[in-house]
């Protein structure tokens, strides 16, 4: 079942309507999201299950895919879909949307190459912000710019326009959430950012534990580049800070 909605609304941020594919087995949610996305000026395709989504993607790739992890009877059909989609289009931004927020799902979702991961109780406004941020990053990567807005902190370099991060001139592959967390910390070195601040920066409503696991994963990603990485410090009970050294 493929539902294609035409261009409508005028989001104004982007010149031409973007095409977003929603793969969601819950029709009510899918319809709500579709309406919301359309309101913001996106073209929306809705697929209820994996085979129809794959068939649709073969006809044409969307600009961004929002995929539910559980698809009908397929408990982790979203993950499978993500894997297949990623093989077709390595650069396609993929956002997981699910009711399941267990740590395990987060990790496996991101390991499969998802660019972000949202729980379903996120508000639509938040979701729009995240989707826009993702699309913006993709645009930035695709369109070279003369002068990028770059934030440098010692070995760390953050290209805010391209939403890319490098450490010691080596790129560090971060998700959007992680990017904003790193950005928020690095902007004010030595200042403690509490969890709420980090969540706000990342424009997400993850709970404390998810912030913790995000921080953990960020550290690991930096440590993969530099084993001696220790710039993100824990301020117990308060949050985290970027080491001023």
């Amino acid at each position: 079942m493929v539902t294609c909605a035409g261009f409508s609304g005028n989001a104004g941020l982007i010149k031409m309507p973007r095409h977003i594919a929603i793969v969601e087995d819950e029709p009510a949610i899918a319809a709500n999201y579709r309406d919301a996305f359309q309101r913001y000026g996106f073209t929306v395709s809705h697929f209820a299950d994996r085979p129809s989504a794959l068939a649709g993607f073969r006809l044409g790739l969307p600009d961004l895919a929002v995929i539910d992890v559980g698809l009908g009877d397929e408990f982790e059909g979203g993950f499978d879909l993500c894997r297949e989609l990623r093989s077709q289009a390595p650069a396609l931004p993929i956002v997981f949307l699910t009711a399941r927020d267990d740590e395990l799902d987060v990790i496996s979702g991101l390991r499969l190459g998802a660019d972000d991961y949202l729980t379903k109780d996120i508000s639509i406004a938040h979701m729009m912000a995240r989707v826009n941020a993702l699309l913006r990053r993709v645009d930035m990567i695709n369109v070279p710019k003369e002068q990028d807005d770059v934030l440098e902190r010692g070995k760390l370099a953050i290209n805010i326009d391209r939403m890319s991060v490098s450490w010691d001139k080596q790129p560090v592959d971060l998700t959007v959430t992680e990017f904003w967390i790193v950005h928020s910390l690095a902007r004010h070195p030595g200042q403690v950012r509490n969890r709420q601040q980090l969540m706000d920066a990342a424009q997400t409503v993850l709970d404390n534990n998810t912030v913790t696991s995000h921080i953990k994963r960020i550290r690991k990603k930096f440590q993969a580049v530099d084993a001696g990485f220790g710039a993100i410090e824990t301020a117990y009970g308060m949050g985290y800070r970027w080491s001023s050294q």
């Binding site: 949610i29 267990d102 379903k120 639509i124 406004a125 534990n209 117990y236 009970g237 308060m238």
Partner: protein
């Protein structure tokens, strides 16, 4: 009472075994004795019949005046002393003419000589005066011996103690003269009681009949004689009962092992006996005194009469055997030292008259050795049986109780305090009831575990399932906000959104504990070495800013306290404790954070002024869904806080403790870490 002790008591029943054995041995002993009695009686009857056929039955004797001559195996020394007589266990007989038995007499023969022994008790000895009436003055002993059809009287007198020779008065050519009979000689010896006289003469000279009388020289009274009265003593000689050699030889034929035979005449004197006392004197090693005592207690021993030593020489007169002379066979069991002796007598009948009795004495080595052997065997067997059975039962009991204990421990351990399955229940494979019990407990535990797991995951499942409809509600509301609607409509939408938010929070809370448990399980290896002192300092600052309305105090230690912990978890536990402390703290009170080092173990305490802890069972405060709060404001409270604290401390092998302050002004919650996590 423990199972092993119960079974040990039960094993006492094994003692029935030796008791039964003892009963059996007693029966056996009695049977055996009966049997031996019968055999001996039968053998005696056969012997008696044989004796009768051979015509060697003794003649009936006149008891009056008869003199019994005891056989003696050795020569007796003529010295006037009777030690050698006593050594041969020769019995003596008392004679009396005036009711006061003052003469002791015994006679013996070695086959050729005839020995006589007199012991006379009288106050004063009068010696013979050669110038007095010939042979009729002084203390004297007169012997009457049958010579052919006449009776020859000899008198033994002496002028002084020492060697004596019998004399007699011979009528020779009308004169009486004293003639010495040198064949009758002996020794006269004075004793404190009177005198004693030992005489000997050729047996051939003694003839068949014999008599004596003892006359006191001082009073000319008879003090004792073989005769029934003074008048007839000269003519009525008593019968001289000599050992019947022929009969003895015949008896030898019937001799059996462990046995001796004898014949007593109608007066009760033993006249014949088997030459040797054919009883095996095997010297077995004396059994242990306890065993020996047990024998006597167990075997019907104690009421048996003692064996009298003089019976050995034929002195049966007072043995009870002589009752056979009345015509009835007699059987008598006696005991000697540690042996049985069976005595039996059977009347010998000749022409309808009892002429004597056949006497048999049989050692009962067999009975005793049989009994003793059985007893030994019984003793060792029962001992072995008791030891084996008791040991076996004890071992069995120990094994059983070990299994029960194991089962008990497994049951205790497999479900922890929260009712959750901690370890797999080790079901037994054995086919018995305990195995069945173990298996049914295992099945029960598994079912219980499944159920608990179901209940445990119910929350997160529920929250997961509810989240999708919640997303529908929320996204619909979000979309609705962009639709045209009146002011009132916007109010409703915002209320609905608030409700959806609360519902979302509720769902998060429900799955929080489960998520945290998973996280603890995941992060147990993600330990970091953290300075607790610095951490508490950080927390103090953090909490001071998070709860601006509450006064915080910090009591830290001076030196760094480095520990390997999962800091996120500990901070989360601290968050819960501090949140509780702030909620319960009095308005003007303070919350104190304290790090102490108690015996090498760091302890973090959160203390607050305020109401005391409720009176609840130990540790229940930390249980899941246990809340003692009164509902306070809008904030959702499921009582998970302290449960999470406990989970965190369990992950650190530490302990979460709650107590009231000693001065009852507030409560203290502590996180006690082990010495090294």
């Amino acid at each position: 009472m423990r199972l092993s002790r119960q079974l040990l008591l039960v094993s006492l029943l094994v003692f029935v075994l030796p008791v039964a054995g003892i009963r059996w041995i007693q029966e056996m002993e009695l049977t055996f004795r009966d049997q031996q009695t019968q055999v001996l009686e039968a053998s005696l009857q056969a012997t008696a019949a044989n004796l009768s056929l051979r015509g060697v039955l003794p003649e009936p004797v006149q008891a009056q005046g008869a003199v019994y001559v005891q056989p003696v195996g050795v020569d007796l020394v003529m010295d006037g002393y009777f030690e050698d007589w006593q050594a041969q266990q020769l019995t003596s007989r008392r004679y009396s003419d005036d009711g006061d038995p003052r003469v002791q007499f015994s006679a013996a023969t070695d086959g050729t000589n005839f020995y006589l022994a007199f012991r006379i008790a009288q106050s004063r000895t009068t010696y013979y005066n050669p110038v007095g009436v010939p042979l009729k003055n002084g203390d004297r002993v007169q012997l009457s011996v049958e010579e052919g059809s006449n009776v020859q009287h000899y008198t033994v007198v002496t002028e002084a103690p020492g060697q004596v020779v019998a004399r007699f008065i011979q009528h020779w050519n009308g004169i009486n003269r004293v003639v010495r009979e040198n064949r009758i000689r002996g020794v006269w010896r004075d004793t404190p009681e009177g005198y004693q006289l030992e005489l000997m003469m050729p047996l051939a000279m003694a003839g068949k009949r014999f008599g004596f009388r003892v006359v006191s020289g001082a009073t000319e009274q008879w003090v004792g004689s073989t005769g029934s009265n003074e008048e007839t003593v000269d003519d009525e000689l008593g019968q001289l009962i000599l050992p019947n050699q022929h009969l003895s030889r015949v008896l030898d034929v019937f001799l059996d092992s462990d046995m001796r035979l004898g014949v007593i005449d109608s007066a009760g004197w033993q006249i014949a006996s088997t030459s040797s006392f054919n009883i095996h004197e095997t010297h077995e090693s004396e059994p242990f005194w306890l065993v020996s005592w047990l024998y006597r207690m167990i075997l019907s021993w104690n009421h048996l009469p003692d064996y009298q030593n003089y019976w050995r020489r034929g002195g049966w007169q007072n043995s009870g055997l002589s009752a056979a002379l009345d015509g009835q066979p007699v059987v008598l069991w006696t005991r000697e030292n540690n042996r049985y002796r069976l005595l039996a007598s059977l009347p010998l009948v000749k022409d309808g008259n009892v002429v004597g009795a056949l006497i048999a004495e049989q050692g009962s080595q067999a009975v005793l050795s049989l009994a003793s052997r059985s007893f030994d065997r019984l003793f060792s067997l029962s001992f072995l049986a008791i030891v084996l059975v008791s040991g076996g039962l004890l071992g069995y009991a120990s094994w059983l109780s070990f299994r029960i204990r194991k089962l008990h421990q497994a049951t205790e351990q497999c479900i922890n305090k929260d009712g959750r399955l901690q370890a797999r229940f080790p079901a037994s494979d054995s086919a018995d009831e305990l195995g069945e019990l173990s298996r049914s407990i295992a099945a029960m535990v598994t079912r219980q575990g499944n159920h608990t797991e179901y209940l445990r995951s119910l929350g997160s499942k529920l929250s997961h399932e509810l989240r999708t409809p919640l997303a529908v509600v929320r996204s619909s509301l979000d979309n609705l906000a962009h639709e045209q609607m009146g002011e009132q409509g916007k109010v409703y939408v915002s209320r609905a959104l608030a409700g959806a938010d609360r519902l979302g929070g509720l769902l998060n809370n429900i799955s929080e504990a489960t998520r945290l448990e998973n996280m603890i399980a995941d992060s147990s290896h993600e330990r970091e070495t953290v300075d607790l002192r610095q951490m508490l300092g950080d927390l103090f600052q953090a909490y001071s800013s998070v709860y601006p309305g509450t006064q915080f105090k910090l009591q830290n230690i001076d030196e760094p306290c480095r520990m390997s912990i999962a800091p996120e978890l500990v901070v989360q536990a601290m968050d819960k404790l501090v949140s509780n402390a702030v909620d319960f703290c009095n308005d003007d009170g303070a919350v104190t954070l304290r790090l102490e080092n108690i015996q090498g173990s760091p302890v973090i305490s959160v203390e607050n002024d305020g109401p005391l802890l409720p009176d609840t069972p130990d540790g229940q405060l930390f249980d899941s869904m246990f809340s003692v709060r009164t509902a306070r404001g809008e904030k959702l409270h499921l009582g998970l806080g302290l449960y999470i604290v406990r989970l965190v401390m369990q992950a650190h092998r530490g302990e979460a403790l709650a107590r009231n302050r000693l001065d009852q002004t507030g409560v203290v919650f502590s996180l006690a870490f082990p010495e090294e996590v």
